[in-house]
């Protein structure tokens, strides 16, 4: 068909200030800016200068120029491009290969002049829509940018606040440190007399206990003597002692006479006073005839102890279980707080375990401290409590400072406009999952209908292109994928009045994409404003 379409005259109405229309002729597909290179009836030189051809070979559907410049209006050159004027919309270039391919590419239909495709001129409609959406975008940008200023302001104030707070904390930390030191001295000073008094009390108590013990032994000896002295003749004889097999020195199962005599110090019988020496030799083995056969583990002491320790263990279990199950990735920040608390609890727990042990020893309880000692102890305890209190306060301040320093150290954008996102979370619900974005922290996904949460990545870094670094956030090192990488999420930030997750997708296995609008990325709308003004006034 060799539809050698030569020069096609295009009439282009250019709106001038006066509203007068001027017709400009140029070959099909040539933009106005290059019009001067295509002069009718003059030989055409390829724009790359590679050759010169008669003008009738411009747009003759045969590619003569290596750069494709001789065929701006046909598909003949593989590297050519076609200019659509698209009056009413935006002019654009399309690859030559889209000329007459049966698909409407230019909204002014100029690309399909010989393909049989029926194209509608949609430029006006598109222009209107674009202006509308530009308008909307401009408004959004404008408002968003205002909000952004506010955010920057708040962030600045917040930053100042934080800085101030940090300075304040630094001050109070110093005070606290001094206080801790002072209280440590107070504590130590109070603890010395306390220790002495306590030791004194304990020593007295030990002595008293020894006395009691000796008294008890004596009683037991007398009881044993009476028990052994079966004939009540005031002597314990060999025969009387022989029934106590537990005293057998060679443990051969029989207590011979000689052995018994040996126990009695060589005598056949002993009286109460001599028994005193005999008793010291046998008292450790001796079994009272009364208590023999009568099993005596009076264990009521142990029971509460066991229960208590079991409680302790199970307590621990129930605290740790969910953590083990959920896996490291699933520990959320708020959970981390729990975790810390829990650790503190753990430290507190052991003393309660020791209490029963002490109790076990106390067959006879120690008498209360005398008032003097007690007052020393009370004083020392108070000093200790004061010290602990101060130390805890110091630790708290330290933690606060650390958090503040971390927050201050975060890259919240050039003007800290993203600071407001810190420690916030935003959710998006899809048909299957609830997605959760906690900026600067993590991204996660939770099935709507049961199932555990999946970590889609932890805060990594800003990952936008060089000229727009703060347009993309990257979260990585999420939960691992089968035979694949760890999950990761790219968050694309676009300007919006509201801070909201607008969409999520998984374009590649385990690589998630999230769209997130925030005023923090809204750009100065000034130039756009101007453009719009121009439009509306026209």
């Amino acid at each position: 068909m060799s539809c050698a379409l030569l020069l096609l005259l295009m009439s282009l109405a250019l709106a001038m200030g006066t509203g007068a229309a001027v017709e400009i002729q140029r070959p099909r597909g040539v933009p106005l800016s290059k019009r001067q290179f295509y002069e009718e009836n003059k030989p055409f030189t390829c724009l790359d200068g590679s050759s010169t051809i008669p003008f009738d070979r411009v747009n003759d559907d045969y590619c003569d120029c290596r750069d494709g410049s001789d065929e701006p209006g046909t598909a003949a050159c593989p590297n050519g491009s076609f200019h659509c004027t698209n009056a009413g919309f935006r002019p654009t270039f399309i690859p030559s290969s889209r000329i007459n391919d049966g698909i409407c590419d230019c909204c002014d239909t100029t690309d399909e002049y010989n393909s049989g495709a029926t194209c509608q001129n949609t430029c006006r409609e598109m222009g209107r829509k674009e202006r509308e959406s530009l308008q909307i975008m401009a408004e959004i940008t404008k408002e968003g940018f205002l909000l952004k200023q506010q955010l920057i302001h708040e962030a600045k104030r917040g930053q100042e606040d934080k800085q101030g707070k940090l300075t304040e904390l630094q001050g109070s930390k110093k005070g606290l440190e001094e206080k801790v030191e002072a209280l440590r001295t107070v504590k130590e000073t109070a603890e010395d007399p306390e220790k002495e008094a306590k030791e004194r009390h304990l020593k007295a108590w030990e002595e008293q206990k020894e006395l009691i013990r000796m008294e008890k032994d004596k009683t037991r000896m007398a009881e044993a003597f009476l028990e052994l002295d079966d004939d009540a003749d005031g002597y314990v004889s060999v025969a009387e002692l022989q029934s106590h097999l537990e005293l057998d020195p060679d443990s051969d199962g029989s207590l011979s006479e000689t052995e018994t005599q040996g126990l009695l110090g060589g005598a056949d019988k002993v009286d109460t006073s001599t028994f005193e020496t005999v008793w010291s030799g046998i008292k450790d083995k001796y079994l009272s005839e009364v208590s023999q056969g009568q099993s005596e583990p009076p264990a009521p002491v142990e029971t509460p102890q066991e229960e208590e320790s079991r409680d302790f263990v199970s307590d621990h279990d129930s605290d740790h279980y969910p953590e083990d199950y959920a896996g490291e990735e699933d520990v959320e920040d708020d959970e981390e707080d729990d975790h810390e608390e829990e650790e503190e609890e753990e430290e507190k727990v052991p003393p309660t375990v020791q209490t029963p042990e002490k109790r076990e020893d106390d067959e006879v309880s120690m008498p209360p401290y005398d008032t003097e000692t007690q007052s020393l102890i009370d004083a020392a305890q108070k000093a200790r409590d004061d010290f602990d209190e101060a130390e805890r306060a110091l630790r708290e301040v330290d933690d606060q400072m650390k958090n503040l320093e971390k927050e201050i150290g975060f890259d919240f954008g050039p003007s800290a406009e993203f600071a407001y996102l810190y420690s916030q979370c935003y959710e998006l619900s899809t048909s299957e999952y609830i997605y959760r974005l906690c900026p600067f922290n993590r991204v996660s996904q939770k099935p709507k209908f049961g199932g555990s949460e999946t970590n889609l990545g932890l805060w990594g870094q800003w990952a936008g292109p060089e000229d727009n670094l703060y347009s993309v956030m990257k979260y990585d090192h999420g939960q691992g994928c089968w035979q694949g990488p760890n999950r990761s999420t790219t968050v694309k930030l676009t300007c919006g009045k509201e801070t909201v997750v607008t969409s999520t997708s998984e374009p590649s296995r385990c690589e998630y994409l999230m769209e997130f609008t925030t005023p923090a990325v809204c750009q100065e709308p000034a130039s756009l404003d101007e453009v719009l003004h121009g439009h509306t006034e026209l």
């Binding site: 068909m1 598909a75 290969s97 048909s431 997708s505 374009p507 590649s508 296995r509």
Partner: protein, 932 residues
């Protein structure tokens, strides 16, 4: 697409599958060989292979010989057990001999493969030349070919002159396990059966010791009940003078088959092999029991028509010899002629062999095509580029990828949807959330003159709320288990039924499901992909169907390798029917058999993103081409794993010059659309795809020939240079048709490749630089990442469309550029085929253009090759590039109306390239350009 395996699914499937997967994965990338049988683990293969060459126990009973106009019949007796066989010999038209051996009186009929031959092959009369007590000599008609039947031991020899072309049972490995009554059930059945049937086998009792695996066989946890007992068959073929055999796909192995002594035989059994390895004889997804033999003198073929599990042993008396050893033989005048021996073993059925006697490769292709038909002629767009991934997630994703191609100015024709597009793996349905408006999506593609393929697998979710399942179940169309209930197995949807595609009623019903009103959301630009049609059964033995499952009266054992062919056939028929018989279908299948070429395309299954897999794609597709399946491709980029950028680029460059050109990727791999690797790589991929699009006229013409005459599109060099022994084992380069030689770069970091340019006295032209090279040389070509070494044969004319657009449909009316590559004698010839690109009108109404271009005596002319046809095209000839030309003083275009005009031209003296400017003649007309 996909393999039998992905952990992703485990979350949605039952614990059973999870266990199975866990066993299957075991954390490595390589195939788990333990899941698949070796010959030793396949009872019949082990039994048969235990037989060693020696004197055959079979004897021909010459007194039973009967010769009719169409065939010769003769009984054979096994002297060991007295079981008689019936031999049938046919002389088939087109220089073929058919040898059929069955039991004379089998206990019950043995399976004979239906639906593979396109007709009852027409015969030619055989004539008896001589006959004595030792045997008979028959004339095979032309070429002084004779067939000698020796009586004792039985053997067949086909001779031409004094040369033996091929011998059957010369090594005595004919073994036919006759059907028998199970011994342990013998007594109770004895008196109900005719003693006549029985006596011979009673006599021969000693020979029939029951071996393990005859009546039951267990592999891993699966037991095969074998109610019919042993039934295997085996036969050997000797090929004197032959050192090279090819074919019997599908194996991930070299083009030239290797001797199998000391290893496993090549196995033919359609299996879903997870992460297959290259260079081994394991069975893969498809099976075509056709082997070609080739020597400098002759090319022949053996077509073993049996659809049961089959093993092929190859041995060669030269295979083990080093080049030095062969030299020594030559120098010392070794008397031993090279010989290749082949042995086929199948589990059941009969021996039905077609011996295609060539003598040229082209003859063998025609002979095989006359038996099983030719390549389906695909819609032109199916030859363009296909973009696939497991999975394009939803409509928005499809739209975004479609737009991505336009944004990066890369053409494509088809976008594919894998299993995730369905509603819970219920084929013929759409995921209501991800694809709520499939017609809108398809319309969007149609608006860009593009198309889509959706997957429809043959496993059907057992779910009483699923219409397809309910209908198949109520119609009794499912394959049955040995106990008679519907056979069920695990696949993507979980518990699944398997429709009995061997049943013609089932196929008709299946085809009707593709009607636009049945397959909701489908449109005319939507085509079909049949994956998993081995069939894949995740929890079945060797990941496939139990052999004792029943297709009507036949066991899966008998016809296993046919299942995939039937699936693709029923689907292709559905696509034809939905258009009222007007439109050509396009169906891709993973499993195939002899004859599958009639129904569409195949691909090499679930390969991996590895350089070895890129290399093996060449011999795998070449092997398929030799046995009729031209429409072959490998997943560009590799299915499993993630390719390096270099590998991906090289794969695009290779795939652009292979018949089926589709990128595909596993669900768990990162995205790899062509523009995701930086502008430079995008440009490289764009260029490779554009080269494909520019060459589509030539591809289309090659496919027309494949369809018309059965000649392969992608050819080993020896097919065109049958006497050039240097080409016999070459499989790192190939020919497209006769005229293009492609040596893709398949080495990582390559700085150069050595291509072999065949043809003494011929020349080849680099298609990119037009540089001329002499034939019969190894040419070192320095390469960069942009190089795709391709050469056009001097003496050929190739048409291209230089205006590459965003889809092939958009290029329909574009003009042609003719590349005339002159031979040293300043001669060239070529063709051009044009039709509407998508209907059967080329066939039914002869609506096509077929031109012959000839350059001789300084004149290039276009003449009609098909005077009976008619078609008009808008396309014209925009440019003629003559390579190896000298500068004329003028170029005159003459048209039939007597008009003459002068053509402008440019001459590049450094490359001897003459470019004629804008002849402008319509491509369907006669014309001549005379150079003076």
């Amino acid at each position: 697409m996909n393999s039998s395996n992905s952990i992703l699914r485990t979350q949605r499937m039952g614990p059973l599958l999870v266990l199975w997967l866990a066993g299957c994965l075991s954390g490595t990338w390589a195939v788990d060989r333990g899941n698949f049988k070796t010959c030793d683990q396949s009872a019949f293969c082990k039994r048969q292979r235990a037989l060693k060459p020696g004197q055959s126990p079979y004897r021909a009973l010459l007194e039973t010989l009967e010769l009719t106009n169409t065939k010769l019949t003769l009984q054979l007796i096994n002297d060991n057990n007295k079981v008689r066989l019936l031999l049938e010999l046919y002389r088939l038209q087109g220089n073929m001999t058919r040898v059929k051996i069955n039991e004379l009186k089998p206990l019950k009929p043995r399976f004979e493969v239906p639906d593979v031959l396109i007709n009852d092959p027409p015969t030619e009369p055989l004539s008896l030349l001589s006959r004595d007590e030792n045997g008979v000599v028959l004339s095979l008609g032309a070429d002084s070919q004779r067939l000698i039947v020796s009586a004792k031991p039985f053997r067949l020899d086909i001779m031409e002159g004094r040369e033996v072309l091929l011998s059957l049972n010369s090594r005595g490995l004919l073994a036919f396990e006759h059907l028998r009554i199970r011994k342990d059930t013998l007594l109770c059945n004895y008196f109900h059966l005719s003693p006549l049937l029985f006596l011979p086998s009673l006599k021969a009792k000693e020979d029939e010791k029951v071996e393990d695996g005859m009546w039951e066989e267990t592999f891993k946890s699966h037991t095969d009940s074998k109610p019919n007992g042993p039934s295997s068959i085996s036969l050997d073929f000797s090929l004197p003078g032959v050192e090279n055999v090819y074919g019997i796909p599908e194996h991930a192995d070299s083009l030239k088959l290797k001797a199998t002594d000391g290893g496993d035989p090549y196995r033919l059994f359609n299996l879903d092999v997870f992460q297959y390895e290259v260079f081994n004889p394991m069975a893969l997804y498809g099976a075509i029991p056709v082997m070609l033999s080739h020597s400098a003198q002759r090319t022949m073929g053996i077509f073993w028509l049996n659809a049961a599990e089959t093993w092929v042993d190859i041995s060669s008396n030269t295979a083990g010899k080093t080049v030095f050893g062969q030299m020594l033989d030559y120098v010392q005048g070794s008397s031993e002629t090279p010989q290749t021996d082949v042995r086929w073993i199948s589990e059941s059925g009969i021996i039905d062999v077609f011996i295609m006697l060539g003598p040229t490769p082209t003859d063998v292709f025609s002979q095989y095509a006359s038996l099983t038909g030719t390549q389906a002629f695909p819609p032109l767009s199916a030859l363009a580029y296909h973009q696939c991934r497991w999975n394009y997630n939803d409509q928005e994703d499809v739209a975004a990828v479609d737009q991505g191609f336009d944004d990066h100015d890369i053409p494509y024709d088809f976008i594919w949807l894998d299993i995730e597009h369905t509603d819970g793996k219920r084929y013929f349905t759409w995921d209501p959330h991800k694809f709520p408006q499939p017609k809108d999506m398809l319309q969007g593609l149609l608006d860009k003159r593009r198309k889509m393929v959706t997957i429809v697998d043959p496993h059907i979710k057992v779910d009483s709320s699923y219409k397809i399942h309910n209908e198949i179940r109520s119609k009794g169309f499912y394959v049955k288990s040995k106990d008679g209930g519907d056979y069920e197995g695990w696949c993507w949807p979980g518990n699944s039924g398997y429709p009995d595609f061997t049943n013609p009623e089932m196929r008709a019903w299946w085809a009707s499901m593709f009607a636009y009103d049945q397959y909701e959301g489908s449109m005319e630009n939507m085509y079909t992909w049949n994956d998993m049609n081995e069939p894949s059964v995740f929890n079945g033995p060797e990941v496939t169907m139990h052999k004792d499952a029943l297709h009507g009266n036949w066991e899966n054992r008998d016809l296993h390798n046919l299942y995939g062919l039937y699936v693709q056939r029923a689907t292709a028929e559905g696509l034809i029917e939905r258009s009222g018989g007007v439109e050509r279908p396009f169906v891709l299948a993973r499993a195939f058999f002899a004859g599958s070429q009639r129904y569409g395309a195949v691909w090499t299954g679930d390969n991996a993103a590895e350089w070895e897999h890129l290399k093996i794609s060449i011999p795998m597709c070449l092997s398929l081409g030799l046995v009729g399946v031209s429409f072959c491709g490998a997943d560009v980029g590799g299915f499993f794993k993630s390719p390096s950028t270099e590998l991906l680029v090289r794969w695009y460059q290779t795939g652009a010059y292979q018949p089926f050109f589709r990128a595909h990727a596993h669900l768990d791999t990162p995205r790899r659309e062509p523009w995701l690797f930086g502008p430079e790589n995008t440009a490289l991929i764009r260029e490779a795809v554009r080269q494909r699009y520019a060459l589509l006229p030539y591809w289309y013409q090659l496919f027309y020939h494949a369809h018309h005459s059965g000649q392969p599109v992608m050819r080993p060099l020896w097919v065109e240079y049958p006497q050039d022994t240097a080409t016999f084992s070459m499989d790192d380069q190939f020919l497209l048709g006769r005229d293009l030689l492609v040596h893709p770069v398949t080495e990582e970091g390559a700085r150069g490749v050595t291509a072999y340019l065949p043809g003494k006295g011929e020349v080849w032209f680099d298609v990119h630089t037009f540089q001329k090279h002499n034939g019969a040389q190894n040419l070192y070509i320095p390469v960069t990442i942009s190089s795709i070494p391709v050469f056009q044969r001097g003496g050929s004319i190739i048409s291209r469309k230089a205006r590459v657009r965003r889809s092939s449909s958009c290029m329909e009316h574009d003009p042609y550029t003719l590349f005339v590559a002159l031979s040293p004698k300043r001669f060239a010839q070529g063709e051009l085929y044009i039709d509407d690109g998508h209907t059967f009108n080329f066939d039914k109404q002869k609506q096509f253009i077929h031109r012959r271009f000839s350059f001789a005596n300084n004149a290039l002319s276009s003449r009609n090759l098909a005077p009976g046809s008619q078609f008009t095209t808008f396309s014209w000839v925009e440019k003629i590039v003559i390579l190896g030309a000298s500068k004329p003083s003028k170029a005159t275009l003459k048209t039939p109306d007597g008009k003459e005009s002068q053509l402008e031209f440019e001459f590049d003296a450094s490359m001897s390239v003459l470019t004629l400017r804008k002849p402008g003649v319509n491509a369907g007309l006669d014309w001549t350009v005379v150079l003076q």
